[in-house]
Symmetry: C2
Subunit: 356 residues, 2 copies
């Protein structure tokens, strides 16, 4: 039986991408001299099916959840911080809240399931599928029915909007451990190459975290072949929701600016569930978290920023939006050689030609 | 006799930098998790002598000039493009014009000396010290009196303003050759490690460009010990003006966001003339031009962006401004742990401690 998340993705318009490339060659600059900004502009042309795209409307959703794996002592912060940070997100005090405000983005927080209840608040959708995942070093993180609901919850955050860009953020003490387990399974990499320091653990805790992930992968006998099984056994509620949101974006023709380690783990899972997702992804930044670079490489994504950030929440992607907007502003507003009456490259130089 | 450019630079306030660091540790995020954004915020605190700095006012000056070395056929574009691009800058069609407009910056173009005259225009200051430099593969690029005037012209673009940030851009067909010669001399590096493809030359022209630079350094017997002598023999009028502007910024307490290859060559020369300049520099981006990384390393600068840009004009720095503004917005607007009632790192975890 075919599920919604296996349905066709939209297809970027190659004709518009080509028209956009031609325009880039006509702008008053040496060909290629805007580097990655040129690729960004042509990608948006393909996504928006027009030569001169815009980036006015941005949707940002932060999915939050707790993680049973925290009982194994793998984080520098206690689990109750998840609920405290949800309150901070909606009150406007967290990094992603500040950046969303600056960007004029449509910002909401979605509680997928925390240990403690979260008070109702504006800009908070409380779904609470279960009180955090179970400890995946002992049993599967979530039942199959909950995984389906978490994927659908991500989808529902996309439906009914028509954003020009989506950023999915996350919050959940312990979720770098879940993301590392997902990536170690899907990329078939040793845990030491994937597991990082998260919010800032010491070396002994890092070794313990590697050990917990390795033993969990053995326990669940994950081969990496089935991304849904990986999410079910070692995933997180917020990671599954991100995965569902990314798939729905690709189906709806909304490009995704992927954030750091955890969002990239969700993006890798999304492309394994539905390969058409890969045409709708940009990477906002390279996280300082170990393993992020491997995950980006597996998606053939070149990150826009590399600032040593490792905060999550969607914050690295949100900082990168300004670079996308600069790329599109240059593409739209620069003069062409003809308009500016500037000689293009290859015109004869004033002096004698180069000789040895 | 002491010249103006040897006068004392302002001194960043270490007390404010420390207060800023303390604030960063109190914001609701794991310590260090904003990476380079934290360093940017604390630098601005030191520069503005306050815990919570702002970045509202930005001055951008593009210095333009022609280069006699173009007679050696080292560029993909003919020399008349310099004058055509000056018209494009003031008409608003060039990359830096578009970016300046988006940033709300104070933007002006300064013609330091082109082969052909430039028509008067708003936002254009026409200084025209000489009709481009002389061919430095045959004789010194400029007389000593002109060098002094070019440095002073840069200074005059800073005096009377009170910007919170300065970006110096440049335009001059042939100026990557001059910048490469300056850097090869000052950094004592082989030309092949410094000379790049400029606006996009082929391999034969690149080899010729290396050869021209190497022979010119021999002709002038430059040892790298005297930065003024280097600027005089193989520099450019716009590069000398940038150098003077950067020195004046440091003397006036205005931080400089250094652009790409040519601006960095000017910054290296500025720090050799006056070491106090180095405390007032940030690097906007890593250019695709060969040798830029070596120049940044010599200044101990870590670039903010690395997007494969190689346009000059100040464009890479201008794109990076948004990252600076994000850093300062987060520093100003994020809640502290106390304000948000969030538990800080190191609080006891909910579960048992990590064990082997």
């Amino acid at each position: 039986m075919s599920e919604w998340y296996q349905g066709d993705c939209a297809v970027p318009c190659e004709h518009s991408r080509e028209r956009s490339r031609v325009r880039q060659l006509q702008l008053t600059k040496p060909p290629g001299s805007l580097g990655q900004l040129e690729t960004i502009a042509t990608c948006f042309s393909a996504w928006q099916q027009r030569e001169i795209p815009a980036l006015d409307t941005i949707g940002i959703r932060v999915f939050a959840a707790d993680h049973g794996i925290c009982d194994q002592g793998i984080s520098a912060f206690p689990a109750e911080v998840t609920v405290q940070m949800i309150a901070n997100f909606v009150a406007g005090g967290a990094a992603i809240s500040v950046l969303s405000q600056d960007l004029g983005a449509d910002f909401q927080v979605v509680n997928m399931g925390t240990r403690q209840p979260v008070p109702a608040a504006p800009r908070l959708t409380d779904i609470s599928l279960m009180p955090g995942t179970r400890d995946f070093s002992r049993e599967p993180a979530m039942p199959e029915a909950i995984l389906e609901q978490a994927l659908a919850a991500g989808r529902e955050q996309i439906d009914g909007h028509d954003w020009q860009l989506f950023i999915g953020g996350e919050m959940g003490i312990g979720n770098t451990t879940a993301a590392a387990a997902i990536l170690a399974a899907l990329l078939q990499q040793p845990t030491e190459r994937i597991v990082g320091r998260g919010t800032g653990i010491d070396t002994a805790t890092w070794e313990h975290k590697c050990d917990v992930v390795a033993k969990s992968l053995l326990l669940h006998q994950l081969t990496g072949a089935d991304p849904l099984q990986v999410l079910l056994c070692v995933g997180g509620l917020e990671i599954a929701a991100l995965c569902g949101a990314f798939i729905r974006c690709a189906q709806s023709g909304v490009p995704v600016l992927v954030d750091g380690f955890i969002a990239t783990a969700a993006a890798v899972a999304a492309t394994r569930i539905n390969p058409g997702v890969s045409g709708w992804l940009l990477a906002g930044h390279r996280s300082a978290e170990a393993g992020h670079q491997l995950a980006l490489q597996s998606l053939s994504l070149e990150p826009i920023l590399d600032l040593g950030m490792r905060l999550g929440e969607g914050s690295g992607a949100a900082v990168a939006v300004a670079v996308l907007r600069s790329a599109l502003s240059l593409h739209r507003n620069m003069a062409t050689f003809a308009e500016a009456e500037v000689s293009a490259a290859g015109a004869p130089a004033a002096g004698p030609p180069a000789t040895a």
